[in-house]
Symmetry: C2
Subunit: 547 residues, 2 copies
């Protein structure tokens, strides 16, 4: 239909620019060139520095033939290099693929091969693992080593595996490099692997539009003023640090890198750098609540904390609130660029007891401002559950911060977004006030120290043990880690004298450390008449176990 | 080119939703149903109310045959109805056309006819003017009258011109109306007329995408936390209140309506409603600085003020800063959805004297976070001027908050956005720190009390006077209004005894009051050898005139 409002009112270069978080960097470098962008050990970078270094990275990659649609993998701690990679890589239309550094050789190898990484930027503390990875994979990527001054090199670590380290590589690039925004805001920006139920990681693809909106939506949702000082506890390899490299650039904030997370490091950063914001798994709140007097430091400002994953215990929440930390509980998945729901505070809750408040604060809550839908549905009928806090359904999500899809996996992509909603896999209720609360996870994910662990992946490993007849893994509540994997094993022969230690060692041979069961219980597994293992009962047993 | 990153990673209903500020209303109504959205006199609405009333408006309009691509004009004061119109009208794909209530009959008639308004929602205080308008225009729109309890009805005003008033009309609508987001975020949302140099208003068209980004960009730029209390001084018919109906909804803030702006009303609202933010022309700062003790009220909180238009005098800035108002100076045009540049504060400025600070604060500054480009160029060569604070060029703007174009005016649209930049028409310099400062306006616009007045339009009127040989109008600095139009007239015969009063009365016959010259100087006009009037000299003369 032609009418006056769509005639001669078209897009042009003046009135349309694809949304990209790269625009934020250009602005912060122009407007606040001398403001601190990143602090790490003795290193202090300004926005002008970060912009120049990102352009150098982009330029250096170009000279190596890297360009639009190529994957650049990054395996490192929270150091300035990974922040710069969030800009330098997409500046040339390449895709940043941050990888969890705690993963095992097989999984990292799988990811590099599946994602077709042309370059791997890696911290040399990881050299023992990465060396094995490089031996294993067929196509050899260009390797750039990060030599970080704050690295602890355990036995065998610290070897540079490529021909240039990161700083040498940067010097080959031009700080005035002519980068460009993507032509289309739907162009891919990042690739993040998530462990699925099958144990085979799936490559979640983000676009520029989503990351741009994630940044501005987070600013709005968290009432973040310009120039926050943000402490990097959340690894930037988790959903690109929940989008915060971009959020902080939009706000010209200062990033305080934390290579290693400990109570002492946390308090030192808060006191020395006047940290105003940080995010982290509930385990980080435990560090704070249980810090010793030696670890604690004096400071007088308020600190805003965003926590995600398993809801923190009420006692921990109370303790940290009383220490001057204002905690917001959020929820999201790798598939949603990180947090897309939050427990938005209601004024009337101020009247409640701290215990009641903590209970409310642990809800997953409501959608972020940039999201379009967050609801709980029966996944079969796609009908909303009642707002009664009782009826269980699956959390469904809709909006511009839902992934493009899984790389090279049409089937899972289509399945995950069937019916016009992203299926989170998390089971929840909807309260009368419209707040969502998770009740269980349909995908059998255990969240241990902020890392997602697939129970199915562990079970698959356990079944490879010659003595195992049946195996089932569930989450066991843990004061320190939030949850840990607890394995229930039914042996082929009761006479077999295999021990808990044997099973754990067996797992360690192939699984990353954080995925190995912390507890193994030998017992006959409860099953339905058709032989289905009753995980619900096992969860109760795991919870009750105090050994 | 096909590669893995653009294969089977397409848009679908789960991962893509057109950007529209309508999404903010749905969210605020869901998450904060009982929070105050609007306060006006004895009326108090919650977000649930505002959502329902907007849906009722949408539904009632639909029943009258209004739909996608239709124009609905709104002529009213800052009352709840115009806020609701910003949602109810676009909810059905119609376009909101707010019109400056201070315009004259001819101009309003022109706008209604050019914009093809099907409906006019109007405050009955304006009935004398609107009645004339309705008599004049050929196609008769549906008229809905706003009966505001706070209206002052001067002689002859207060007559309802349609068959239903706004509340009656709303009752015909369904509060559960099934509205929808636009299919395309480029769909038109608003139509705002701006006076051009020729005096014929041009219809600036906004889209949903731009208004969405304006809202989130403003939140970011102004460090606005959730739930501000905003006082409506800026008329919502000025660039849709600089986008603030949408910004406030994204933040679930409270709007305090101000039907009439006076020092007393300002202070009462600030004290009674704890206003945290407002925006206004510099004249509003004058009201505050010069308020009498009777008008002033006690309050203890800080108030953030955004001011635009002619930069406020340093003395005024100093005075209001000392009264606890934190002033940010912004710049923008109707063509850019309102403010797109701001004088972003730099930490090191805190060390300067208040006078130096005021000088800096009056700069137009740097682009907003959601904008892509703000620069000063030679409009002939499209080359950037030097960053030396000396070389004058035209302010050029680029980004998603630049209009779609002028309605039914391809020629002006193309001209205004030639070379990939929107040509502001304002002459400025670029300082070494990248801050833009306006030096002059190439379009001869006079900003009087926050209203743009075209000098050309006044000149055209003056030339109609039988005694006038040459006429030229320039801005004259004015303590109260910022600027006022000052007319220079060269008479056909020196014996003619036409007076200043005669000329002003002549103008009042056809021009809106705020457009009439406040001062008329009879003199031989300075001209170039080719007969071009030297406006520069006239500006100096106007400035020097103290009569």
């Amino acid at each position: 239909m032609t009418y006056m409002y769509n005639t001669n009112l078209d897009k042009n270069h003046a009135n349309f620019t694809p949304l990209s978080p790269l625009s934020f960097l250009q602005r912060s470098a122009e407007v606040y060139p001398n403001r601190l962008s990143i602090v790490h050990g003795s290193k202090k970078y300004t926005w002008s520095d970060t912009f120049k270094r990102s352009k150098q990275l982009a330029s250096a990659l170009t000279k190596k033939g890297v360009g639009k649609g190529d994957t650049v993998a990054v395996l490192c701690f929270n150091t300035p290099e990974i922040y710069e990679a969030h800009y330098g890589i997409p500046m040339i239309g390449a895709i940043i693929n941050t990888i969890n550094i705690r993963l095992d050789v097989d999984t990292i190898s799988y990811i590099l091969e599946h994602g077709e990484a042309k370059v791997v930027i890696t911290d040399n503390e990881l050299s023992p693992t990465i060396k094995e990875v490089l031996n294993k994979i067929k196509t050899k990527p260009l390797v750039i080593d990060i030599d970080d001054e704050l690295a602890n090199h355990p036995e065998g670590a610290g070897e540079n595996l490529g021909s240039q380290n990161y700083e040498e590589f940067l010097k080959t690039g031009d700080e005035n490099f002519e980068w460009s925004l993507p032509k289309d805001e739907w162009d891919s920006l990042a690739l993040n692997y998530t462990s699925g139920t099958t144990g085979l990681p799936k490559g979640v693809v983000y676009h520029h539009r989503g990351s741009y909106l994630m940044a501005l939506g987070s600013v709005t949702a968290f009432s973040m003023a310009m120039h926050p000082t943000y402490m990097w506890v959340v690894p930037m390899f988790h959903c690109n640090g929940w989008g915060n490299p971009y959020t902080l650039t939009a706000l010209a904030g200062t990033s305080v890198c934390l290579r290693y997370v400990s109570a002492k490091n946390l308090f030192d950063a808060i006191a020395d750098h006047k940290v105003t914001h940080f995010g982290g798994a509930p385990i980080v709140l435990n560090f704070i609540a249980q810090a010793t007097d030696d670890e604690k430091r004096e400071y007088s400002h308020k600190v805003n904390v965003v926590t995600a994953g398993a809801p923190p215990p009420a006692a921990t929440l109370e303790a940290v609130q009383q220490m001057g930390f204002d905690v917001t509980h959020v929820y999201g998945l790798t598939e949603t660029y990180g947090h897309v729901s939050m427990c938005a505070w209601q004024d009337e809750w101020n009247e409640l007891s701290v215990e009641e408040q903590s209970k409310l604060r642990s809800m997953q809550g409501v959608k972020f401002p940039m999201m379009e839908g967050l609801t709980v549905m029966n996944p079969e009928t796609m009908k909303k559950v009642k707002n009664d806090g009782e009826e269980i359904g699956e959390i469904m999500i809709k909006g511009n911060c839902v992934m493009k899809g899984y790389l090279k996996n049409k089937e899972e992509t289509d399945k995950s977004m069937s019916g016009g909603w992203f299926h989170s896999g998390d089971l929840a209720v909807m309260h009368p006030n419209g707040y969502v609360q998770i009740k269980d996870r349909s995908k059998d994910i255990i969240i241990s120290g902020g890392e997602n662990v697939s129970s199915v992946e562990i079970e698959n490993t356990l079944y490879k043990h010659p003595s195992v007849l049946f195996a089932a893994v569930v989450a066991k509540p843990d004061e320190k880690w939030g949850e840990t994997p607890c394995a229930f094993i039914e042996l082929k022969s009761q006479d077999d004298n295999v021990t808990e230690k044997d099973i754990i060692s067996f797992c360690k041979e192939t699984l990353a450390g954080f995925k190995c069961p912390k507890k193994v219980i030998f017992t006959e597994l409860p099953k339905t008449s058709t032989g289905k293992i009753l995980k619900y009962e096992l969860r109760e047993m795991a919870k009750a176990d105090v050994s």
